[in-house]
Symmetry: C2
Subunit: 340 residues, 2 copies
DNA sequence: ATGAAAGCGCTAACAT
DNA sequence: ATGTTAGCGCTTTCAT
């Protein structure tokens, strides 16, 4: 009943033979139809349909050398923050008819390398990467080999390497200062591994806020490293925190997924938010405002982040010089951190 | 300070020349190192490093004919349901050292076609697709051209086309029956366009539950088509609903993102949930339990869905016959639909 | 307007 | 163990 699977993909040669023209002519109707007389064009088109011919992208690309595809690697594809960024990227790429290959490193440098390699082997125009750890030499090497690189959500240490990031020091400071203003004198920080730059910088911001308030970070700050930057990580971190008798009265979570896990755990343990413990998240994802206790969070311009990154990449491909873009975050105060 | 961008990628020829061997030998150290004597191998490896040679994937693939990459196309990459499915896919693919190219159709058949074409041109091993509308001939044609196809989250009408889906009729029925059991006699259904099969089937399930309860769907069911299957769509649908004076006392939302928008709007409008209006969602995403009013939702085995789909695809590539897998959903009752 | 042919980078026979 | 070479499918001169 259904069409049998074909043994071999039809090639441009098969089309040429069937249409009784040369391969050059077939190539022309594919790429410059106006160079071909209407009658032969018709014959070729018919042959293409007849054979269900689909040009081989590898061959075309091998010939052309480059393609209109770019790659992006994010730390966690299940995190709304990154998917919103991806949407921003796509929206910009679409304008120039580029396509996006999205990959998920899961914060694993090896996976990152693997996808980078895959992208490079396939000759992508460039890549946008949220680095999995501190090292970026492999990205510099990649760029030296002719692949455009834009650092995503991480500012570039080099003038000639493009980056689009949000000021994470400022974000951490915003969150901590807010908690201090609410009267808290000790703060727990459920943070990710310091291999991830964003985590280091948010930590720096927290320390800065503490010091500005005349507090000693060694005493006023309890940093807990969560096993993963999601709800389960937040749960684990919160359990660890609650195990200590004199835990701080405020928790700053490195992202909203982590905060979600924290809120869940606090609820299970009968700890009231914000009465017993205040919570602040990061990213201001869609559901932050709708949670049982609406979540105070540091908002980032996610869509713009991706859009601008794609913009820089396309510009670089056109020969524009590198650029470092730094957006500013914004604190959105809700019930999870304020006593009415 | 930083390495200058290279003008041309080094090829296997350059390596051969520098190492003073033939291209065949270079190819051998790349693919069958044991066939090469240690000393020459060393020379070649050095040359590769010296030139930062990265093999051209297009050329290799052109030669090989096929690759260990598969494509997946989902309706909305910002929806946790689909990203969880994607994780399931990745987890299965990793076992066989395959890689995933993920694309986002945004429910747009044209975008779907475009990505399908891109995948096919690049010779992917197969594709997993959540179809954007009712038509699947293009997928059958694709398969006839030798690309393995697995329908994702949509059951196959054909014996020899693989699919992995969840019983959406049953899911719709589960949700509606529950609301009826709670005493509601009229139900609003914030649904997506009927071009999307899942929406049709959930609707069928709702109708079935209504009829089983002796109600006339024409009177007991108010279906509203949301402009998009996310929070904004849910908001728009809910506003439309509230505009009518005698709206139903229960809302069933086609997914949790839509439900999120509904809850948000109800709250803004001062409508109490579940006292004034009960709400049921679909997907049971991570945050469903943590919302202001914990959300009753129809849970689907997301990870298994993706994992199994990838499994079928890999099996098909190895010559296994097609298979249709149908999972059963499960209702998770929470506060948004029950009066204490 | 169309055809012939070179060549993109690589792999896999086949020779040596 | 290593070299030589054909050819994967396509685009692009260069002829005609």
């Amino acid at each position: 009943m259904s069409t049998p699977v074909q043994r071999r993909r039809a090639s441009i040669n098969d089309v040429a033979r069937l249409a009784e023209v040369s391969v050059g002519t077939v190539s022309n109707v594919l790429n410059r139809p106006d160079r071909v007389s209407p009658t032969t064009r018709e014959r070729v088109v018919a042959a293409i349909a007849e054979l269900s011919f689909v040009p081989n992208g590898s061959a075309r690309q091998l010939r052309a050398g480059t393609i209109t595809t770019v790659g992006a690697i994010v730390l966690d594809i299940a995190n709304p923050f990154f998917t919103d960024v991806a949407r921003g990227i796509e929206d910009r790429l679409t304008q120039d008819d580029y396509t996006l290959m999205l990959a998920n490193s899961e914060e694993d440098p090896e996976r990152e390398q693997r996808y980078l390699r895959l992208f490079e082997e396939h000759g992508v125009q460039g890549v946008m990467v949220v680095p999995s750890d501190e090292r970026i030499d492999h990205l510099l090497a990649l760029r030296a080999r002719g692949v455009n690189v834009v650092l995503l959500d991480r500012s570039s240490p080099l003038d000639d390497l493009s980056s689009v990031a949000v000021d994470d020091v400022s974000g951490g400071e915003l969150a901590a200062r807010h908690l201090l203003e609410q009267g808290h004198t000790r703060i727990a920080f459920l943070n990710g591994p310091h291999a991830i730059r964003q985590c280091v910088e948010r930590h720096t911001g927290v320390v800065r806020a503490l010091e500005a308030a005349g507090l000693d970070p060694a005493e006023a700050l309890v940093e807990i490293t969560v096993p993963s930057l999601n709800a389960d990580g937040g749960e684990a971190g919160t359990r660890e925190l609650l195990a200590s008798a004199d835990h701080p009265s405020a928790i700053f979570c490195v992202n909203d997924l982590t905060a979600l896990g924290a809120l869940r755990t606090l609820r299970h343990e009968g700890v009231r938010v914000p009465d017993d413990v205040a919570v602040v998240g990061y990213d201001d994802v869609t559901f932050a405002a709708e949670l049982g206790t609406p979540l105070t969070s540091v908002r980032q311009p996610t869509h713009a982040l991706g859009f601008r990154a794609a913009d820089l990449l396309l510009a670089a491909a056109a020969g524009a010089p590198a650029e470092q873009v730094l957006f500013q975050p914004e604190l959105v105060v809700r019930a999870s951190s304020t006593t009415p």
